[in-house]
């Protein structure tokens, strides 16, 4: 049933304009994100994972194809429609993106103050509940400059769930975390997903943690979907692209080298080799 998918990409192509021509990031990508599940988007850096999130949030528009969220094609929404859509989703940025001039409490209160007219005591209760969910109720009065990177991301998570979204997108939630924070963060994502009935999309290249909590894994490589399935299916995939990624091999179909002139051209060596 199509309704089971909260997000659906239909043949989406996306390219950045570059100095000469354009750089294709996504090449006719189709994927589905089922409702209520944790979906992991994996792939090499610069492989278009963050672009997928930006397309879902309507911060960028696809050159071709449709990005369907909650049954609406994101590209056709006007500003009001887009804002209505965004109020139903939360996004966790890579480094938290907390507002540096506001305290932890005010950061979490920000979306509530902007979008609701709650009385102050009720607002306080909600903020403290959200902070409690990420274990930082005691840190409410600190400023973002006074907390660690892992804590900042948890505050950002509390802020992302402040308006009870139906979809949360995590951009590299594990990057640069120590092993303990990493495990806690992963469990937190899974717990929030199940407890609040949210749909989660995680962009990550941390294989073990991501495979441990995801229901579905999508591997992006060279601008295309290389695999889509349960963690086990992806782990045992025979596709050379996926195999290379899951087993962290440097040689394979995913290009390690940025496109450019051939080695022989750059270093002046002749195909036959040897000195003249």
């Amino acid at each position: 049933m199509a309704d089971d998918n909260l997000v659906e990409f239909r043949d989406v192509t996306f390219a950045y304009p570059a100095a000469r021509g354009e750089r294709v990031i996504l090449d006719r990508v189709s994927l589905q994100v089922p409702r209520g599940k944790v979906t992991a988007l994996m792939g090499a850096s610069g492989g278009g994972k963050t672009t997928v999130l930006r397309l879902i949030g309507g911060q960028q528009k696809a050159n071709q194809g449709q990005v369907v969220v909650h049954g609406d094609d994101v590209a056709t929404l006007d500003r009001a429609g887009l804002h209505a859509l965004r109020r139903r989703m939360g996004m966790l940025f890579q480094f938290g993106a907390l507002f540096t001039d506001l305290s932890v409490f005010e950061n979490v209160a920000f979306p509530l103050r902007e979008h609701t007219r709650l009385p102050e005591d009720m607002l306080r209760d909600i903020v403290l509940m959200k902070l409690n969910a990420v274990g930082l109720r005691g840190a409410r009065d600190l400023m973002p400059s006074e907390i660690s990177g892992g804590m900042a991301r948890r505050v950002a998570l509390a802020r992302a769930i402040a308006l009870d979204p139906e979809l949360i997108m995590y951009d590299e939630p594990f990057a640069g975390l120590d092993p303990i924070s990493l495990g806690t963060a992963a469990q937190l994502i899974r717990r929030l997903n199940d407890a609040l009935g949210i749909t989660s999309i995680i962009v990550s290249h941390d294989l073990d943690e991501t495979f441990a909590i995801a229901d579905q894994v999508i591997v992006l490589a060279n601008g295309r979907v290389a695999a889509q399935g349960t963690p086990d299916e992806v782990r045992h995939s025979t596709d050379p692209l996926v195999h290379q990624f899951v087993h962290a091999e440097s040689e394979g179909p995913v290009h390690f080298h940025y496109p450019g002139p051939s080695v022989a051209d750059d270093f002046g060596a002749r195909a036959s080799g040897g000195r003249r």
Partner: protein, 259 residues
């Protein structure tokens, strides 16, 4: 040859699109006046921030400019035996020219750079993106209050500059040199016209406030979201805003005071 042409074409296109983006942002900020005033708390905080930031440097500069004006003015005026016109000379120089212009230049260096760096860092730290994803428009929530705060603050700061400058002129002219206090003040009262001098000066400072604040916000909003990008944008704010102020000042002076 074709490479040169295409580079030229690209430069022109980039320039034109920058003009377009700036114009759209400017119009948007003007349209947001009612929405911004509806949440006056945000503007008040920014006025407090911008004003506080610049008040000390502007008061001190005003004092010294007043000192120097009195010294130089006395030197010229006493040659023609009209040193009692010193008060009028100091007041007119400050109200018509130096108050608005020097205040705008100092405002660009002090508050403008702070605005650019703040907005640029918010962009680099994905704070503006985060706000967009929360369905909050950063132009409405972040840029508009700062813009209107800057527009309101500039005339106030220019007034402080001129007032302190006149006091400085009095200190040097009357207290130090010994120009007659009665003629110093009465010549000033007689020689300064409400609309022609004071009003036009206030108008100038309003125009400069719009210019400097807009340049600072635009540079921050369009900055490359990297540390180098933000530092370049901050420098550009001072250069671009100062040139605009000086250019506009010539234009405004020509229109206002030649009739």
């Amino acid at each position: 040859m074709t490479g040169l042409l295409s580079d030229l074409g690209r430069a022109v296109r980039l320039g034109l699109s920058a003009v377009g983006l700036a114009t759209r942002l400017f119009v948007r900020l003007l349209q947001l006046l009612p929405a911004t005033l509806a949440r006056f708390g945000l503007v008040r905080d920014q006025i407090h921030f911008l004003g506080n930031y610049s008040l000390a440097i502007i008061a001190v500069s005003g004092l010294f400019v007043g000192f120097v004006l009195a010294l130089q003015g006395y030197y010229i005026l006493q040659r023609y035996g009209s040193s009692e016109a010193l008060g009028m000379m100091v007041a007119l120089s400050l109200l018509r020219e130096l108050g608005p212009v020097v205040t705008a230049l100092l405002f660009a260096g002090r508050a403008g750079t702070a605005l650019t760096a703040e907005i640029g860092l918010m962009k680099a730290g994905e704070q503006l993106s985060a706000m967009e994803m929360m369905a909050v428009d950063p132009i409405r929530r972040v840029l508009a209050p700062r813009f209107w705060a800057g527009v309101f603050t500039m005339p106030l700061l220019a007034a402080v500059f001129s007032a302190v400058g006149i006091l400085g002129g009095w200190l040097v002219g009357v207290v130090m040199i010994g120009v007659d206090a009665g003629s110093f003040w009465s010549q000033m009262q007689g020689g300064v016209e409400w609309w022609n001098d004071l009003g036009n000066g206030v108008l100038k400072s309003l125009v400069f406030g719009i210019t400097v604040t807009f340049v600072a916000l635009y540079q921050g909003y369009m900055a490359q979201p990297t540390p180098e990008g933000v530092s370049r944008a901050t420098t550009r704010t001072v250069v671009v805003a100062s040139l605009w102020v000086l250019g506009l000042d010539f234009g405004l002076t020509a229109m206002m005071f030649t009739v």
